[in-house]
């Protein structure tokens, strides 16, 4: 099980190991199948990731990303088909314009852009999936808990 880590316990006990919570929005056709393949191939990857399956990365509204942060995610990943492979022909082309632009807005607002990651993982890339999750989990651990919204919740303004 995840170790739910709040800011207060982090202050109380420096020793508690921080387990980041990563919310991943995966497209049904490529990345979700890729994650499935990683599982059936018995490739291990860190259990910090919470997968939300969507039809397509083109479906990802930036609201989803912010909402995940607001509810306590330390990192958000959006993953889908490689360019050219979209099941709906062009959904990922639209995501490739919209989401990186959103990332630059987050950065402008002072939210570390590394907390929002994107990847292309095909249905055949179980290995890449497990590598991506291992890499971003390591990065999220290094970045530490994302406390902005927690703090906002605690001391009303």
């Amino acid at each position: 099980m995840e170790a739910i880590q709040t800011t207060s316990t982090a202050d109380d006990d420096e020793q508690t190991t921080f387990e980041p919570r990563i919310v991943a929005f995966l497209c049904n056709w490529c990345s979700y199948a890729g994650a499935d393949l990683a599982g059936t191939s018995r490739l291990g990857y860190p259990p910090n990731i919470r997968i939300v399956k969507l039809p397509c990365t083109g479906r990802v509204d930036p609201l989803f990303i912010l909402k995940a942060f607001e509810r306590g995610a330390d990192m958000v990943l959006v993953s889908g088909c490689h360019p050219g492979d979209c099941h709906y022909t062009s959904g990922n082309y639209h995501a490739r314009r919209k989401l990186p632009t959103f990332r630059s807005l987050l950065e402008f607002m002072g939210i570390d852009p590394r907390r929002f990651q994107m990847s292309w993982v095909s249905a055949a890339q179980g290995g890449k999936w497990s590598q991506v999750v291992a890499d971003i989990t390591a990065l999220a651990t290094e970045l530490g808990p994302f406390e902005y919204f927690e703090r906002i919740r605690d001391n009303r303004n």
């Binding site: 609201l63 360019p83 314009r97 919209k98 632009t101 807005l105 607002m109």
Partner: protein, 283 residues
């Protein structure tokens, strides 16, 4: 400026008498303190309320697709160059049709004292594609450094940026004036009014305020023409224009796009370009 007002009244009177339009939307000193506000002249008698002077800040395009205005029939509308660009976006998004409008463009050297930020970088002092143009042609080159404010802000490190926005956004009282005044925020039901699920918390508390202001800015990506009305009306002085400018800069840098320059353009998020788009920053 007096004669311009006269010219405008004559134009409006003629249009209304000929029944070429049902309403002329313009400016007039009809606010409760004599301040400049919107005038809807529907009869030749009412044209005497119209006026033109250096206080024509408002972007009247906001009224164009309101159902209560549409009911009045064909519209004539008084616009500055920047407002004209907003109309292009409304046309490209199928909110209004060019033939339903009689556009009265006024040439403009800039508004506000000191001049509003946008006016220093304006490329549309002489509004394009209008049915009537009033005023002498203006010949002012835009200044350099359109995004200087954005770049100056970006010299702050990431924590300083967040602290800046946190301090600003905590004051937001969620009056939604910024939305109401925006000609391009025309959704019949805004995402903040949806409550199943409740995407944006509605109390004026920093958490929902961050969500609201980020969404407001992002929904205007590739659409905002930078008229600056949102920032001008914000009662607590949040620099909303800075967020908009950041996105205008992104769209220009990444997609070589400037919104509102033509009614035929395609918004950057409703298209893509394999020659331009890259996988930068994607694993």
């Amino acid at each position: 400026m007096q004669d311009l007002t006269q010219l405008l009244r004559e134009t409006a009177e003629d249009l209304l008498k000929r029944k070429a339009v049902g309403v002329v939307i313009g400016y007039g000193h009809t606010g409760s303190r004599g301040d400049m506000t919107a005038v809807f002249a529907r009869t030749p008698q009412q044209v005497s309320q119209l006026a033109l002077d250096g206080e024509c800040y408002r972007n009247l395009a906001v009224y164009l697709n309101k159902p209560e205005v549409r009911k009045l029939g064909r519209c004539a509308i008084v616009v500055k160059g920047c407002d004209r660009r907003a109309i292009n976006v409304l046309i490209r998004e199928n909110q209004i049709a060019r033939e339903d409008l009689h556009i009265i463009g006024i040439t403009c050297e800039g508004v506000g004292d000191p001049k509003m930020q946008k006016c220093r970088f304006c490329t549309v002092h002489n509004p394009p594609d209008c049915d009537t143009v009033l005023g002498d042609p203006v010949d002012i080159e835009p200044e350099e450094g359109e995004f200087a404010a954005v770049e100056a802000f970006e010299t702050k490190d990431i924590d300083a940026r967040w602290n800046f926005w946190k301090e600003k956004l905590k004051d937001c009282i969620r009056c939604y004036a910024c939305r109401q005044v925006c000609p391009l925020c025309y959704c019949k039901q805004c995402v903040v009014e949806k409550n199943i699920p409740q995407w944006v918390e509605t109390s004026s508390h920093l958490r929902g305020n961050v969500m609201w202001n980020v969404m407001r800015a992002f929904h205007l990506t590739g659409r905002c023409i930078g008229c600056g009305e949102c920032e001008r009306v914000c009662p607590v002085g949040i620099p909303l224009g800075l967020l908009n400018q950041k996105l205008i800069q992104q769209v220009k840098d990444k997609f070589e796009f400037t919104s509102g320059m033509s009614a035929d353009e395609k918004g950057p998020f409703s298209t893509f370009d394999l020659g331009l788009d890259t996988d930068d920053g994607i694993l």
